[in-house]
């Protein structure tokens, strides 16, 4: 088991290395943060001064080594635009993103899981189709459009909800629905396939054969088992929502990490983009690693194979 964990950790580090090199190179290939400031009034000397101050006058390998070395010491570098450590910014924004992501996860649950359950239990019924269409709707429209239409209806026309920004629970409703609905479809699918798989399992057959009431079989025996992969997916979705809720955060002026990344990309704030991406990568890798280890713990066959 220890060997398994070591091996998986090693793989994870390789993936992170590839990720860091890729992101390092591609942000640099697409522009120059200093050029973004090159407006009349700025002078070549100012630009050179900024390049030197931001460490961009050094060669790429040197820049990368500094970056990689710093990452190992937990330092993601300093944002050009904010003149603040990226990790400080990240953790400043994290609560807002986490709040939105948790609310969105909740929304995705209440849309996706019942629809998936109905879809699995009552295959091809009208309820199944209705649930499917509702859950798939979030995936079938672009998030920005859904967000804006909601703002139009609920803020501008009806005046029920504030348009944007972080605040009370009312501020949370529209962004979390817009974000969570997108993920509902994947939950629907996984809940359904996982339920169908569980329902076909021997232990559910046995549960029925025991003469348990139908709801006990479905809601207790089957659902509890079907929930494991669903929760795994929800965990990964949560990480994605925290780090990449770009469009929804932009539409709703939500002060989260996705917007930080968005601004970083358009401003070519290299340390910011690298930092957020690496941070997200670490979270994803960690969650995958945990899942792998947990599954290996449950199923010895995985442990022995690759």
């Amino acid at each position: 088991m220890t060997q398994f964990i070591i091996r998986r950790t090693f793989y994870a580090l390789i993936s992170l290395f590839i990720l860091s090199v890729t992101i390092f190179a591609i942000v640099r290939l697409t522009g120059d943060p200093v050029t973004m400031l090159a407006e009349p009034g700025a002078r070549a000397e100012d630009l050179d001064r900024l390049r030197a101050e931001w460490g961009l006058d050094r060669s790429w390998p040197v820049q990368y080594l500094t970056f990689a070395k710093n990452v190992f010491t937990g330092d993601l570098g300093k944002s050009f635009n904010y003149q603040m450590p990226v990790s400080t910014l990240y953790f400043q924004r994290l609560p807002a993103s986490l709040q939105l992501a948790l609310a969105a996860t909740f929304i995705s649950f209440i849309i996706g899981i019942p629809a998936g359950l109905i879809s699995a239990v009552k295959v091809n019924s009208a309820w199944d189709n209705a649930g499917k269409v509702v859950a798939l709707f979030g995936l079938a429209v672009p998030g920005f459009w859904l967000g804006l239409v909601m703002i139009l209806i609920f803020s501008v026309w009806l005046g029920w909800l504030p348009t944007s920004g972080q605040g009370g629970i009312l501020h949370l409703i529209m962004p979390s629905v817009a974000l969570g609905w997108y993920f509902a479809a994947s939950l629907l699918r996984l809940t359904r396939s996982s339920m169908l798989e569980v329902m076909r399992s021997e232990y559910i057959k046995l549960a029925r054969l025991k003469g348990l009431p139908g709801y006990v079989v479905i809601a207790v025996h089957a659902f509890k088992n079907a929930l494991i992969p669903v929760l795994t997916l929800a965990g990964i979705n949560l990480v994605v929502m925290i780090n990449a809720g770009v469009i929804i955060e932009v539409i709703f002026a939500w002060p989260g990490i996705g917007r930080l990344l968005y601004e970083g990309i358009f401003q070519r704030d290299f340390p910011l983009v690298q930092g957020v991406v690496i941070q997200a990568g670490i979270m994803i890798v960690l969650i995958n690693l945990t899942i792998d280890i947990l599954y290996a713990y449950i199923d010895p066959r995985i442990r022995l194979a690759k």
């Binding site: 076909r200 021997e202 348990l212 025996h221």
Partner: protein, 346 residues
């Protein structure tokens, strides 16, 4: 006195999307089972054995449906019962042991919870009484230190132990009939033998009737009183184990018996040539005729009727004939071989 279970002309079909494909998994199956008796049902995969059993407990997986016939259990007609009524039969009157002990237990519930459920729902046991009952059951299936084991989870158990726990679950509701669907397929040989012994012992103790679904004739020889051989959704031959093993009338039964390795022989397993037919597109006449070494011209055109050989012994074959009273009754050599083979297992 009515039989414990009387199945008459049972028909169960799977109708796929839109009805363009009908799989006649069970087509006119009849048999009876008395209290305390053991019936073996054998046949190749997909012959309708499992469907028959699922029909008995009215748990055909969709899109399966019972389309005809009757199932009388202790005088009550099961096919007319609602799912809610059936619920009180399942687990309480009829229990089932499934093929795969590894998969039959829910990995997320404790042994206690899983064993106690039938007693909880059917015998209304609660608290201390329930705990006592579980301990008894685990004792009965020879689980060591049951008080400790029942707090554990399936993944902490060995395969043999899990199958015994499945046995305990079957017994928990105090059923009169246990349907065991290939219960030992996934166990290794020594554990299989132990398990079969245990079942036999429990049957003796509780007087429960058992339907044993298997394709292992060794197990049949060891465990069963009666035998039904199924092919393509029909029972092609039925009778006592002794009768069928001694002088099988149906070529298919013969082929099955022939495919068993004889003790001490160097011969490997023999396969029956050809494939089992597609149940949605059965050949005309006798379903077995394409593979039958003794087929007559009539076999390809007309379906053979059920011919009563003697007593409850019947066969569906144009070649079968009613037997004279003076039939042999002694156990033949081949039957002895079979008993010996059963001791080793499949």
């Amino acid at each position: 006195m009515t039989a414990l279970l009387e199945v008459r002309d049972l028909q169960a079909h799977y109708v796929s999307f839109g009805g363009e494909r009908v799989v006649k998994a069970v087509e006119g199956v009849s048999f009876t089972l008395e209290e305390g008796e053991t019936l073996g049902v054998v046949g190749e995969s997909g012959c309708g054995k499992t469907t028959t059993c699922q029909a008995i407990v009215n748990l055909l997986p969709p899109p399966g449906r019972i389309v005809g016939g009757s199932i009388a259990f202790a005088g009550e007609e099961l096919t007319r019962k609602s799912q809610r009524e059936m619920r009180h039969i399942r687990g309480a009157q009829i229990a089932m042991i499934l093929q795969d002990p590894m998969a039959s237990l829910n990995p997320l519930f404790s042994i206690y919870r899983q064993v106690s459920e039938p007693a909880y729902y059917h015998r209304a046991l609660r608290g201390r009484g329930l705990r006592e009952r579980v301990r008894e059951l685990l004792n009965a299936v020879r689980i060591p230190s049951p008080a400790m084991r029942m707090r554990e989870y399936p993944h902490q158990m060995s395969g043999g132990m899990r199958q015994r726990i499945v046995g305990a679950i079957a017994l928990a509701g105090g059923p009169r009939l246990i349907i065991a669907d290939e219960p030992t397929t996934n166990l290794d040989v020594t554990i299989q033998a132990q398990y079969l012994d245990l079942l036999k012992e429990l049957q003796d103790k509780t007087g429960v009737a058992i339907i044993f679904i298997t394709h292992n004739l060794g197990i049949v020889a060891r465990m069963c009183d009666k035998l039904a051989v199924m092919y393509a959704g029909k029972i092609v031959e039925a009778g006592t184990v002794r009768e069928l093993f001694n002088a099988p009338r149906h070529p298919y039964t013969k082929a099955l018996l022939g495919s068993m390795p004889k003790l001490g022989s160097k011969e490997k397993l023999l396969a029956i040539p050809g494939h089992p037919p597609d149940l949605a597109t059965l050949p005309p006449g006798c379903a077995f005729h394409p593979r039958c070494p003794e087929a007559l011209p009539t076999c390809a055109t007309a379906e053979p009727p059920e011919i009563q050989v003697i007593g409850s012994w019947s066969a569906r074959c144009w070649r079968a004939e009613p037997q004279e009273i003076s039939a042999t009754d002694a156990t033949t050599d081949s039957a002895k071989d079979i008993h010996a083979a059963a001791a080793v297992g499949d």
